[in-house]
Symmetry: C2
Subunit: 451 residues, 2 copies
């Protein structure tokens, strides 16, 4: 990559970009919320003032994508997701301002404890450091991830889909130009697949990877780095219609969970139906799905009630991401939990039942990041959860689960304020006991500024 | 491994042990705090009632270790750490009961939000799942990790140091026998290095790895698994004597930080001294260190004030773990932060100064999991922090940092309680707006029990 982004300067290498991001991260961690939020409004203003530049670049991307569409390499859906408009730019600008308006996720004292007289321990939220995100072709993804990164004090390495190359390049330029007061190099754009491979090896410098995209791609990232990875490979979500379900409600929720937006990871892929209600529920449900062009497959017991295709061991594990659905009749709530445990991807499940106790058993029993009672799986989303926006959805078990917003981009530090205390005083035969009393204090001494 | 642990049964394979742990983890997640705490008291009782059995096994380990000591393969310190006594068993039993007495880390509603009328989102603490710990030769480590695992609802895979093989085997047997009411297979003991390698590949089943031991070993684990790893490779800790330090206090704290227990990871390895106080501070400090047999190395400017060996680029990065220390004179607070950034291991640092503002700048500026003001680095420890006990100290940036206790062994789940809501209602042109109002509710419907 030797292409110039600004006249007369050669693009820095990926290693240089990451090194600059690492330095910027240390400074970003000490920047006030005011400064970070102001910078976000500057980004929003810059995008607003340069709509033509963004739309022109986007037209190039769309034109190239349409050629590939004609050659059958791209889908219409991809081209649609890629295309920006003034309306979409309005949403992007509004999103940046809404991130700026969120409460500061940094410097929050998460707990405070008197260890002894004049020896106070504080656990305080801080940024993670350098976060690298690899994402799909929607150009708004770059702006969203950069905005959440900046608000949470993280330096970001951004790698967008190659389809959106020109759009992303311009958006990245606007972001960098608009944030001249933010530590230099806080947002780096990388464009080649080989650059991503290079980043995967930089476990000394990069603190977190956030891949989005196909299962195979996320799996590839997980298998080729020792950097912590936040993301999900699959969204095999389940809706369980319990014996105690309100069947009218169940039909509406199960329909919404599949057809409201079937391409996304939180859409349902398998409908589990308690045997006690299968005969009553299935014929109507299947007719409704058919009205919405859903292709159905079922287990043997399902096929006793309705005329659908045959589900298999493989299809239970499949993320269709389309108007396709598997149906299975189960003996019991325990069997429903068992199916989810065996075939699920720990993303999102929903139980439909009027019995709160049974709901609680299902919700505790399945090991997924989001579990719902009487609601569509499609609610699993950072905006709907009130997180402002999301950098992605995590199905891992550590750090952050489910939709990841600003809080998931923070970690914490332990600050201890003493008066010259020695550990020797609290050890050995005459050890002084600790007090260990929680208290309500906030840690907030002077900010880092001139020497 | 075909050795029998109980008459007539063959030891299960590592894969079988992990599969059982995985099943146990799902059940453990639904066990009440009462049941988990009772089981912990049963473990304490069992160790108390079987002191002879434990001490006999330990004598075998110690005898074997002493042979290797004579052959020069082990150190006296290792043999000392390995040796159990009635007094040490008292502490172990007390530790198990104190873990039982801790507040339940599970089922805590971390946040709650009304998304809309009758649509409430809860973020609730849950266990991580299956946690594998690889630890050093102290036999109390096995009991400590198993206890913290059980209290936090996690299944554990335990691999202790080979020196403690017989002690660990008996302690593990006692733990399993005492917890017959806890889901079968919740605590597995593995003994061979090859078993660890097998576990490293089980990223579908094992949710977290906690290695303790040498830097090289922890690095090996990090490089050979895609399972999240919690731990630290090195503890290169710093004490910075600022220009505004109380030099009497500084001398006491800097001494405690090195000599109180030099073998551990939170002992100081490099003393940074502001140039303004170097002439006043260094001669007395060096004399005091010499009284305590500390071998010293310094930078050129240090050697202008005191007669010590020469520190090098390599020695700044060295974790001595012994009565050895490097000293460096720095120009400024910023230079001190710069040294820590360049050579530190993100473990624990301390600034000694009477100026709270300067303390704050140092503490925000260094990127370590624990940063202290006027206190010894040796305070970085789960017990001293009031966490009850610790499974280890993490220098990673995500999930848990610093001393990791019960809370670090938990993650969370999102629970959504609805009334049949559809995402379609909140999308598109006539989208209903969300309320997104935080509230104080607790999520606590019926526990998982019989069908």
């Amino acid at each position: 990559m030797t292409e110039n982004t600004t006249a007369g300067t050669t693009d820095p290498t990926t290693a240089e970009k990451v090194a600059r991001a690492e330095r910027a991260a240390l400074e970003l961690a000490t920047l006030s919320d005011e400064a970070r939020s102001e910078a976000l409004h500057d980004i929003a203003d810059a995008i607003d003032a340069n709509r033509d530049r963004v739309l022109e670049a986007n037209e190039r991307d769309v034109a190239e994508a349409e050629e590939l569409l004609e050659q059958g390499e791209y889908t219409q859906a991809l081209v649609d997701r890629l295309k920006l408009s003034d309306g979409k730019l309005d949403s992007i600008i509004e999103m940046v301002r809404s991130v700026a308006a969120q409460d500061d996720p940094l410097g929050r004292t998460l707990s405070a404890r008197h260890l002894d007289d004049d020896l106070d321990l504080y656990k305080v939220s801080v940024p993670i450091g350098v976060v690298a995100a690899v994402f799909e072709s929607r150009p708004d993804a770059l702006v969203q991830i950069a905005s959440l990164g900046l608000k949470s004090g993280n330096a970001v390495i951004l790698k967008g889909g190659s389809e959106a190359l020109h759009s992303n390049r311009v958006l990245h330029e606007l972001i960098v130009e608009a944030t001249a007061d933010v530590p230099d190099g806080w947002a780096a754009n990388i464009e080649a697949r080989e650059d991503v491979d290079e980043v995967l090896g930089m476990d000394e410098s990069v603190d977190l990877l956030m891949p989005r995209g196909s299962s195979a791609f996320v799996q590839y990232i997980q298998d080729n780095t020792s950097i912590p990875v936040l993301g999900h490979t699959e969204g095999v979500c389940h809706v369980f219609v319990d014996s105690e379900a309100d069947l009218g409600m169940a039909e509406e929720v199960a329909l919404d969970a599949k057809v409201q937006y079937p391409a996304v990871c939180n859409a349902v892929e398998t409908l589990l139906v308690h045997q006690d209600v299968a005969a009553d529920f299935l014929p109507g449900m299947v007719a409704t799905y058919r009205d919405h062009d859903v292709t159905l497959r079922g287990c043997e017991r399902t096929r006793e009630h309705v005329d659908v295709g045959e589900a298999t061991e493989d299809s239970w594990r499949q993320e269709y991401g389309d108007l396709e659905l598997d149906i299975r009749v189960v003996d019991s709530l325990t069997a429903a939990v068992g199916h989810v445990t065996e075939y699920g991807s720990k993303h999102t499940e929903s139980i439909l039942t009027e019995d709160a106790d049974r709901a609680g058993r299902f919700m505790r029993g399945v090991d997924s990041s989001s579990v719902f009672h009487n609601a569509s799986t499609r609610f699993a989303d950072g905006f709907r959860y009130g997180l402002g926006a999301e950098v992605g959805i995590s199905t891992g078990k550590t750090h952050a689960r489910g939709p990841v917003g600003l809080e998931g981009l923070t970690t914490y530090k332990w600050y201890l304020e003493g008066d010259g205390q020695l550990v020797g005083t609290y050890a050995g035969e005459d050890a002084k006991p600790f007090r260990h009393e929680p208290f309500d204090g906030q840690w907030n001494p002077g900010h880092l500024s001139g020497e």
